[in-house]
């Protein structure tokens, strides 16, 4: 179609053929209703319903065979027709991605997910060192923080005394390494996804704000998740460990080389129906 209009496919006719009004669908429906109503009233009602439904069906049949009955409806005069669509006075200014004033922040480039993996390992290692240091300095035991972390999943540790927590536990060690490792990796992935989206001062968000959010969340829920830890946690140390984790993880992610995303591509290109090169 040339131009940009919703244009007529032909000249305006004087009459338009539409299906003729008919009572037979209503009669048929009424007959069917009577037919089933007879089940709960009287057989005679069903018999009448059957007759009415058959009459309706035959009438309907004759409406459409051998050809549809229709009526020629006169087209209303031009003065009563829809007014032509008026061209709008204003113009639309399209904002471009990255243009000043554009509020949309699409991560056109992201850090690879592998950076999240590395960052999670690095952040987790630093956090573990600090936590173990806390155990040694405050409780004279490397195992204390590990056992405390494992208490969420190991019932014997959840009810253990402080002395028992200071002692080595193979189950505590296995569970602690697993839990700390998995959570560190997952949070590392979250950092890899989120860091490009921070508007500015990424170090502040990654290193301080997110660890504080996490600490707040843990503070609110720890008595349900890990009552043993909640009762014994040293919050200043906990915050220091979290911030150290956040800073190291954010730093490792931020140092990784960014890769281009397809966020700015049209959907058709993204799902492979057409190539981006063709559009360009």
């Amino acid at each position: 179609m040339p131009g940009n209009e919703t244009k007529p496919s032909s000249e305006t006719p004087t009459h338009i053929a539409l299906p003729a009004p008919t009572m037979w669908p209503m009669v048929t429906a009424f007959g069917i209703t009577l037919l089933v109503t007879g089940l709960v009233t009287n057989l005679a009602v069903s018999v009448v319903g059957l007759v009415v439904a058959l009459v309706g069906a035959v009438g309907w049949w004759r409406d459409v065979l051998p050809a549809d009955r229709h009526e020629h409806v006169p087209v209303v005069p031009p003065s009563e027709r829809a007014q032509p669509v008026q061209v709008a006075a204003g113009r639309v200014e399209h904002l471009k991605l990255g243009q000043a004033g554009h509020r949309v922040r699409v991560p056109a480039e992201i850090h690879p997910y592998s950076s999240g993996l590395k960052a999670g390992i690095a952040g987790g290692a630093v956090m573990a060192v600090l936590a173990l240091g806390y155990g040694l300095i405050r409780h004279g035991s490397l195992w204390y923080p590990i056992n405390l972390l494992s208490a969420a999943a190991v019932p014997t540790l959840a009810t253990a005394t402080t002395e028992q927590l200071r002692a080595f536990s193979s189950t505590g060690l296995a569970v602690g390494i697993f839990a700390h490792g998995v959570v560190s990796l997952l949070v590392g992935f979250v950092y890899a996804v989120m860091v490009p989206m921070f508007p500015r001062r990424g170090w502040l968000w990654a290193g301080i704000v997110l660890p504080l959010f996490w600490t707040g969340l843990f503070y609110g829920t720890s008595k349900f998740i890990n009552p043993a830890l909640a009762g014994r946690v040293d919050w200043p140390w906990f915050v220091v460990c979290q911030i150290a984790f956040g800073m190291v993880t954010g730093y490792v992610v931020a140092r990784s080389e960014r890769i281009e995303t397809r966020q700015t591509w049209p959907l058709a290109a993204r799902i492979g129906i057409e190539s981006q090169e063709e559009r360009e």
Binding site: M1, I16, F30, T33
Partner: protein, 562 residues
Amino acid sequence: MPASSLNPAVPIPQAAAAERPSIPSILHEWVTTTDHKRLGLMYIMAGLLFFVISGCMAALIRVQLAFPNNDFLPPQMFNRMFTMHGTAMVFLVGMPIIAGLMNYLVPLMIGARDMAFPRLNAFGFWIFLFGGGLLYFSYLAAPGLSGAGSAPDVGWFAYSPLTGKAFSRGHSTDYWILSIMISGIGSIASAINVIVTVITMRCRGMTLMKMPMFVWIVLVVAYLIVIVLPPLTAAQIMLLLDRFLGAKFFDTQAGGSAVLWQHFFWIFGHPEVYVLILPGFAVATEIIPVFSRKPIFGYAVMVGASVMIGFISLGVWAHHMFTIGMSAMSNTFFATSTMLVGIPTGIKLFNWLGTMWGGKIRFKTPMLFCVAFLFQFLCAGLTGIMLAVAPFDWQLSDSYFVVAHFHYVLIGGLLFTIFGAIYYWFPKATGKLLSEKLGKWHFWVFLIGFNLTFGPLHIAGILGMPRRIYTYDVGRGWDVWNLLASIGVIFQAVGILFFVGNILWSLWKGKKAGDDPWDAWTLEWSTTSPPPPYNFEVLPEVRSRRPLWDLKHPTDPDWKYE
């Protein structure tokens, strides 16, 4: 197809056409019409009539429950009230109003003259109406002709074995079965018509991905109806066989299974919730962009989300049955699938917000209803996710928490968008604008009333109040919440009075709407208000999803970007 055949023709007498028509001739025209617009309006008017009747029943239920140990209604009548209220609201209010909107709007939006099967369309309407009449006829006929029972009193999902002959004497349950069954024929007829119309009758240039979102969503709804109604009909036929011929499908004492009925019913029943709410989404997806002055955000993703909702909704039914004692695997599957529905639904919510974000929003009445819908449906969705957690559901199943949840879906979601739709398309259908002032009164009073009624019922449910109880003792902590809920009904009733008054006033004295009062973009606004019987003098041709935008902005048409 409406305009495809030329013989034989029925000429219209010119002299008769010029005369002022008499009331019988007007009635005759409406009764024999096959025009999709008239049938659409008849569906909506019938739905609103049933809405008023069922709403009055709800009000009586709330009066009964306003105070502890109340005996405003007899217990038997109370059971009939909640059964008729629930049944009518789903089958005789929600479904027909949706069918009416689909009928009225789909041909106009896709640039067609009528539905694919106009006579089937008329048949669908009439059989729905007679089915509805049959349901209410039970009040008169069940005791009058059969000597037992009255209106159905087995709840809207009619669980077995309560529906067995031993527990449900007389014919009231039979009326429930038969009326729903034949109304279902009308729904199937409408759905088939919508599918064929959308697939085969779109105007030139309107590819599937250029259809208005409304049309896309009702297409999904139509497919859902065709898929999920037959299981209900099958179960109803089995129940009829149980009741009339002594079959034992659901007779637990003779080797039948009451749980089988639950499976059959909810295979229909849960997708039915989406059949009801998806058209609400469709309405919001039309109204929000127009009143935000922006195209819909993420059209393709919205289409995908609609299809996904339809698909996933077919696999969630047993979350209504967590309390029957299913296997851990079944519980896990249905909990997971139920939560999965939250993903496409969440996508939609974000896309509506994305559409509004940065838009030049006009808070006219249709938009107000849609904004309220966003908040209320979010609440409904969140409580739905809570109920999808099987252990949580074990505590609150069949409590007023569930009642509050699904009323937030069906009133906070569906009814609010239906009101929005009526305010939005009333000018197209009648040529008159509804009063904004009365509309805003309607909105705010109804909003307060709705939330006052159903917000507190969440708490009553958490405090252990079971649904469907006739009354309750003092001192269980439920008193204040029930009183608040009943006070809310007064506000809702006043809101509805504003609505009815607005319609009557606007029909009588309303401002003329013109062809396109909202500066909208879809094809229905390119014809007159009300449209002529043939919709368009010449069938349109489109190049984008917003054909009227293209015409209004020839230097910056949408088709450059789609």
